[in-house]
Amino acid sequence: MPFARAQVARARWRRSAVLTGTLYLMPAALLTGVFIYWPLVASLVLSFHEWNLVSPTWTPVGWQNYIELFASRPFWLAVVNTGKAAAALTLLAVLIPMALAAMVLRVSPQIRNLYRVVLFSPSVISMAIACAVWLWIYHPLYGVLNTVLRLVGIEGPRWLSSGDWAIWGIINVTVWKSLGYNFVLFIAGLLMIPSEMQEAARVDGATEWQAFRHVTFPLLAPTTLFVFLTTFILAPQNLFVPTQILTHGGPNEASNNLGYLVYQLGFEYFRAGYASAAAMVTFLLFLGLTALQFYLAERRIHYES
């Protein structure tokens, strides 16, 4: 029967298409599987064990790692500091680049490019080198920052060795580092907004601020959400290098944060299971917060299609 034969042929074709598709997917799937999902699962399993990275056996300890973690002072300090950092980053590293991008687009094109280069440059410098530069900017006795503050009559704090300020010293470097990239994203976002809308608003007599507030800002919302989410999700990772180079989480845990804590537990104390538990909690915490942000933001954003 021709019908049945056609069906068999179609089924065969479909099967081979599925196989071909699967094979095409394999390289990417294998790589993400091996380097992202498998470690995630392994880390979850490891978080219920004790292991010093050398011993041939993983000793099962049940929920002990989690119990110890929730009772430890460094963990809660790290949570608070990461919260501070995430809040500061999502505020400063989103609002400042947005304002800068809006302003830079108003200056003449020649100067605009100069601004773009200058503002983007922190993104190109490696974080380790940037930290070395900040080390001198922050120097309490003769660093640029405190010298300038002294000119206006303020005795600046010890940015890296004072318990009250160290975390802000770290956050500031991270904000500075992510400014340039977010700035470029906002430039791109702003350029995508059709200029007729602006013009229409101006014709209707809107002031510069009103035009921004009621036309540009809402139309920029998809870009803002993207910048906001990436900055937030990357916050615990971006804090790591400055913490490692500038303060080691000190003084007395004052600048510790979840990204650095996981490293410290795993590779300074060699407690892989305990570090995995901390990593799992960090993962779940950020997964939850990101999902919440998505949920809240999605409902308020207007996509221009």
């Binding site: 094979l23 010093n52 990275l53 050398v54 922050y138 003769y142 003084p251 104390y269």
Partner: protein, 427 residues
């Protein structure tokens, strides 16, 4: 069918990749024996000296090849790589283990106990002073051979001393001197008197405890010693200098060293290993050294920095070759090259005054003299025992940081943190 061909090619690629990853390094036992030597000697810190040591050793031992491998991140970085290599069952034959990590490595990593060589090589063991040999021991067992030996010293800015009306030929000998001279420096020049090093380790803190007659760890290893009256007194002194008299600068390590080199701090306590760096980078002033200040009339005592060599080889031929390599590194010839190349003290004291070995070097480097004078008083840099030892060190570092913040008296901080640490020591 093209997908089948593709699949085959894909499988082949996979198999090839897997085999490349899994391919074991050829481990022929036939001569010559190649041993891996892991070290922290970058090109600016002893690297060239090490290359010379390797070529001279290989010339003397044609049956052994030394594959030296630099590990970044100093001793902690080396430990991290070592963890990975041990987990993969491919450890180096010999590695430099920092004294601060020695108890952890000796307790957690499989390695060769070296006491068996006392019978076969008595001369080797006799050549090294007991207080130095003890740096590689735990409970009387020789886990490693002390190789890098360094002491803290007091660097001082002779020009700032003169500007403060002090005699730079008479550096402070005691902490009372430091405070008295420090006041003069502060009043006459407006600079900080002193910076005690504050890196991410507890070398300075242990030096203060030893110096005031205490012990960083009780002799039975069951209690940390930083809540002893001697330790509390020393820490309170440091806290007062940082917060009350404002004689001591409280800043991160890099900041502190830079503040000294740029002439903003008159004295600085750190390792003799930095002498060349200090001499070359002192900004328009003469840098000199003196032994670390003493507590009143108590004897000088400092924690010893550096590393011990531990044998991780499991194959007997490799182990023998590794032992020969260690013996060469500590021979008068080897130790001479090593000291010249790094500024570490020679583990054998006698070659320092021997004209064929190190006398010319010490004559040319007067900054080394203070360290040489400290050598007989070198105490171990205690590495806390047990699987949680590294955390105990961190608790101690945090206790120093809190002490210098000055919000609570040293006694409260030290007692509380000592209790936390004691709970982590093996029972």
């Amino acid at each position: 069918m093209h997908w089948r061909k593709m699949g085959r090619r894909f499988l082949f690629t996979l198999a090839l990749g897997a085999s490349l990853v899994a391919l074991p390094a050829p481990g022929w036992a036939a001569s010559p024996v190649t041993i891996e030597y892991w070290h922290i000697n970058s090109p600016t810190f002893g690297g060239p000296a090490l290359k010379e040591l390797v070529s001279r050793f290989e010339a003397k031992h044609p049956d052994v090849k030394v594959a030296e491998k630099f590990q970044p991140g100093v001793y902690t970085g080396l430990m991290q790589q070592l963890q990975v290599a041990l987990a993969a069952k491919r450890p180096p034959a010999v590695a430099q283990i920092g004294y601060n990590l020695l108890a952890y490595a000796a307790g957690q990593f499989p390695h060769v106990i070296l006491d068996k060589y006392r019978q076969s090589d008595p001369a080797f063991f006799k050549g090294i002073p007991d207080n130095i040999m003890a740096l590689g021991q735990f409970s009387g067992v020789q886990h490693g051979i002390p190789f890098g030996v360094s002491t803290p010293v007091l660097y001082y800015n002779a020009d700032l001393f003169k500007a403060a009306g002090l005699n730079p030929d008479q550096p402070p000998q005691t902490w009372d001197d430091v405070q008295r001279m420090g006041q003069a420096i502060k009043q006459k020049t407006g600079k900080f008197a002193i910076y005690l090093q504050q890196p991410n380790d507890d070398w300075m803190e242990q030096t203060l405890i030893w110096g005031n007659g205490g012990r960083p760890l009780s002799e039975d290893g069951k209690r940390v010693g930083w809540d002893s009256p001697q330790a509390i007194e020393a820490f309170q002194m440091w806290q007062d200098m940082a917060n009350k008299s404002k004689l001591a600068a409280n800043m991160t390590w890099e900041e502190g060293i830079q503040a000294f080199l740029s002439g903003h701090v008159a004295m600085c306590i750190t390792t003799i290993g930095r002498q060349e760096h200090m001499r070359k980078n002192a900004n328009n002033f003469q840098v000199r050294t003196a032994p670390v200040p003493r507590f009143g009339n108590k004897a000088l005592a400092t924690a010893t920095g550096g590393n011990a060599l531990i044998i991780f080889a499991t194959d007997p031929a490799q182990e023998r070759a590794a032992w020969e390599w260690i013996k060469y590194l500590l021979s008068p010839e080897g130790a001479t090259i090593w000291t010249k190349g790094t500024g570490y003290l020679p583990p054998r004291a006698e070659i320092a005054s021997d004209p064929t070995y190190l006398k010319p070097f010490f004559d040319e480097n007067p900054l080394m003299q203070a360290s040489l004078a400290t050598f007989p008083y070198a105490k171990p840099w205690v590495s806390f025992p047990g699987p949680r030892g590294l955390e105990i060190t961190k608790i101690f570092i945090k206790a120093r940081e809190e002490t210098l913040e000055g919000k609570r008296p040293a006694e409260a901080i030290l007692k509380e943190t000592a209790q936390q640490a004691n709970a982590l020591l093996p029972r």
